[in-house]
């Protein structure tokens, strides 16, 4: 009897695993398809054949310039930011056990954005020369916001998720007020670049941006995956997690740092892109369930697709003019958020 039970349980796990592998495969294929489509689209259209040819080094000089210097870095950036923000959101939802947590809503993005705007305003020359500093600057801002939110949410030694969200909204408004204050001091050109950056834009990206962002994603994403099991246990509630031998405060601290660092690094390059961190973990949870070892990679892929598609719309909708990608993401993401909110239980 016992054997049968164990066997069926194992079978269940393995069939689940198969399903997840299949789904991940489909998602990856979708991502590749969007990737190719995104390379074809633009003010100057390249046919799929031309793209393939150029990709393998047989294109004209002009085609190579368009593909390698303009489109590809932008596409790679969109993929990285989409993945980073989604995983950050997945971790935040996991540790706060609140399905509506998101680095944008919690005010982390506003903190990072404030730091970057300050840096651009006061150290314009340094900021232009060394793009590699921006993620670090954003990190300082993101952490300041996170620490403020966390300490202000403590009451009687406990942090309630609800209070944390409200405090996050408040802190976000404060940082946005400061951003506004600095924007008022800017010259027209500074102002426009800051406005576009704040609206969330990934155009004008080049390989330098990719290089500035890539290390963060390459280190933090695998780390989050490595901690997936801890997140699973945390989902059982604090007491159960402690009972199972998880040092809850320490792990929560490490995971929070990971989430904030991911969000800040993405914001430093992509500006105020909100709702990706909220939407993709939700979609992923619907597809593969709540186990984080599946949830994290799938939501990363979904986030990449989401941002890549939004970016295509941003380029095509009013071509040859561009709208900031963050606006397209908000138009897709905010209604989904409101839908989730309308369905939520108290």
């Amino acid at each position: 009897m016992e054997d049968v039970k164990v066997f069926s349980y194992k079978q269940m796990i393995s069939s689940k695993k198969n399903k997840v592998i299949k789904l991940t495969g489909i998602m990856l294929l979708l991502l590749i398809a969007t990737f190719i489509l995104s390379m074809n689209l633009g003010v100057i259209r390249l046919s799929p054949w031309e793209v393939t040819k150029t990709f393998f080094g047989f294109g004209t000089h002009k085609q190579q310039l368009i593909l390698f210097d303009f489109r590809l870095p932008r596409i790679v950036i969109a993929i990285l930011i989409g993945a980073g923000l989604s995983v950050s959101g997945a971790i935040m939802q996991g540790i706060s056990r609140n399905p509506l947590a998101d680095p944008g809503i919690l005010g982390i993005n506003a903190g990072a954005g404030f730091a970057v705007v300050t840096f651009i305003l006061f150290f314009t020359r340094v900021a232009n020369q060394s793009i590699f500093l921006l993620p670090l600057v954003a990190l300082v801002g993101g952490f300041t916001a996170a620490i403020l939110i966390y300490t202000l949410s403590i009451k009687n030694g406990a942090v309630s998720p609800v209070r944390m969200i409200l405090v996050g909204i408040g802190i976000g408004m404060l940082f946005n007020a400061f951003i506004l204050l600095f924007q008022m001091k800017m010259q027209y050109h500074q102002f426009m670049s800051a406005a576009i950056w704040l609206a969330g834009s990934i155009y004008g990206s080049n390989w330098k941006f990719v290089l500035a962002l890539l290390p963060w994603i390459l280190i933090l994403l695998p780390y989050a995956l490595y901690k997936a099991n801890i997140l699973n246990v945390m989902n059982l509630g604090e007491q159960n997690a402690t009972g199972l031998g998880v040092m809850i405060e320490r792990e929560r601290f490490l995971l929070s740092i990971t989430a904030v660092a991911l969000a800040s690094a993405c914001v430093s390059i992509g500006g105020g892109i909100s709702f990706v961190g909220l939407v993709s973990p939700h979609l992923a949870r619907r597809l593969v369930g709540p186990r984080h070892e599946y949830l994290i990679p799938v939501s990363a892929v979904i986030g990449s697709i989401l941002l890549l598609v939004s970016d295509m719309f941003a380029r095509q909708l009013l071509a040859p003019n561009e709208i900031p990608t963050g606006i397209v993401v908000a138009v897709i993401g905010a209604p989904y958020f409101l839908y989730l909110l309308a369905r939520s239980d108290s």
Binding site: L100, G104, I105, L152, S153, K155, S160, V162, R163, I165, L166, V167, I169, G170, I171, G172, M173, L174, N176, A177, F178, L180, L181, Q183, M184, K185, Y188, F191, M192, A195, I196, L198, A199, G200, S274, F275, L318, N321, I323, P324, G326, I327, A330, V331, A334, P335, F337, L338, L341, A342, R343, S344, D345, S346
Partner: protein, 345 residues
């Protein structure tokens, strides 16, 4: 509802007409002083007795008199009217919804009006002010409608957290649409200046337009005040006392939209006045909206006129956006509310 919170409710039902009368009279006197200070302050410092003579013995030959008449007085008056509008809009909403975080800023009303105005800036740059106000009303109504409907669709109704979340999401959505439109039509800097909030550059035209709507809103609000007091005791109580709550809520919402929409059209979406002032007023005068509405109007005016004075004094000759000043005061207050009520939301 637990016994404890019932006791709390009963404790909160207080009424202090004497305090209210003191606030009304003292507040109006303070407001007069604030207005006079606001008029005398600026790039050209003008003495108070010049202000006095400009008001009562106007002489169009004197530059100082002209500055006072054309620039300073409209600015001060618009500040006072807008402050009153936001504060009363906030107190009516908090009374009707019994939600401590209700207010034109949190509920997406300001964001809606702002979105409508940024459309107007992009497509009809020369729109006269009175039509701009209508635009702002429509946007305010739309923002309130979306936030309110979505927030109350969920099980358990419109809790403060849901309200804040729905308002933030609607605000982000409308805000990013507005910034997209303004970046595309190259009106971004104008729109941002306007979003930052401020009453600089107000004209007599704005005073006239505002005055009509704010007086209408305040008047209807006063007529409604008894019903709002009853409604603030709970919907069931109100129905039990024979009140037509649908009618009261509809008229109340229209008043809120008019007051907040008019305010936004003149000064931009200045946040936190409509959230903070009603709380302070209720704390001082008790639960009777016949007193809360006029007192919060006076205190709101006083607050906004003072904020505008501060906006000019922080970093002269540059002006600090008034929205930043109200946020610096308002965010700590918001955090206080979140910490106080955070657990039962």
């Amino acid at each position: 509802m637990t016994v404890l919170s019932k006791i709390n409710c009963e404790k909160k039902v207080t009424n202090r007409p004497v305090v209210a009368i003191v606030i009304l009279i003292g507040g109006l006197i303070a407001l007069l002083f604030a207005l006079a200070t606001s008029i005398s302050l600026g790039a050209a410092n003008i003495e108070l007795n010049t202000v006095w003579s400009a008001v009562f013995r106007f002489n169009s030959e004197l530059t100082h008199h002209q500055i006072i008449y054309e620039l300073r007085i409209p600015r001060a008056l618009v500040g006072a009217l807008v402050g009153a509008g936001f504060a009363v809009a906030g107190s009516i909403m908090q009374g009707m919804t019994r939600n401590p975080l209700a207010g034109p800023d949190i509920m997406g009303i300001n964001a809606g009006a702002g979105f409508a105005i940024s459309i107007a800036f992009a497509f009809f740059p020369d729109m006269p002010y009175k039509y701009l106000m209508i635009f702002s009303f429509i946007g305010a109504a739309a923002g309130a409608f979306i936030t309110y409907t979505i927030g109350s669709m969920a099980k358990g109704g419109l809790t403060p957290v849901r309200l804040a979340l729905a308002g933030t999401a609607v605000g982000t959505l409308l805000g990013s649409l507005a910034s997209g439109i303004s970046i595309y039509f190259k009106t971004a800097q104008d729109v941002t200046y306007w979003f930052a909030g401020g009453v600089a550059g107000s004209k007599w035209l704005n005073v006239q337009g505002l005055l009509v709507w704010i007086v209408i809103g305040l008047g209807v609000g006063m007529i409604l005040s008894r019903s709002i007091t009853v409604l603030s005791l709970g919907e069931e109580t109100a129905i039990g006392l024979g009140q037509n709550i649908v009618l009261v809520k509809t008229i109340g919402t229209i008043v809120v939209v008019i007051l907040a929409g008019a305010g936004v059209s003149a000064a931009g979406p200045v946040a936190f006045v409509g959230l903070m002032i009603p709380h302070i007023t209720r704390f001082l005068v008790g639960m009777d909206y016949r007193w809360i509405i006029p007192c919060s109007a006076v205190l709101g005016s006083l607050f906004l006129v003072s904020a505008d004075i501060l906006a000019r004094m922080v970093n002269p000759p540059a002006e600090t956006p008034i929205g930043v000043i109200t946020a610096l005061v308002g965010v700590p207050f918001f955090l206080y509310l979140a910490r106080r009520d955070g657990r039962d939301m």
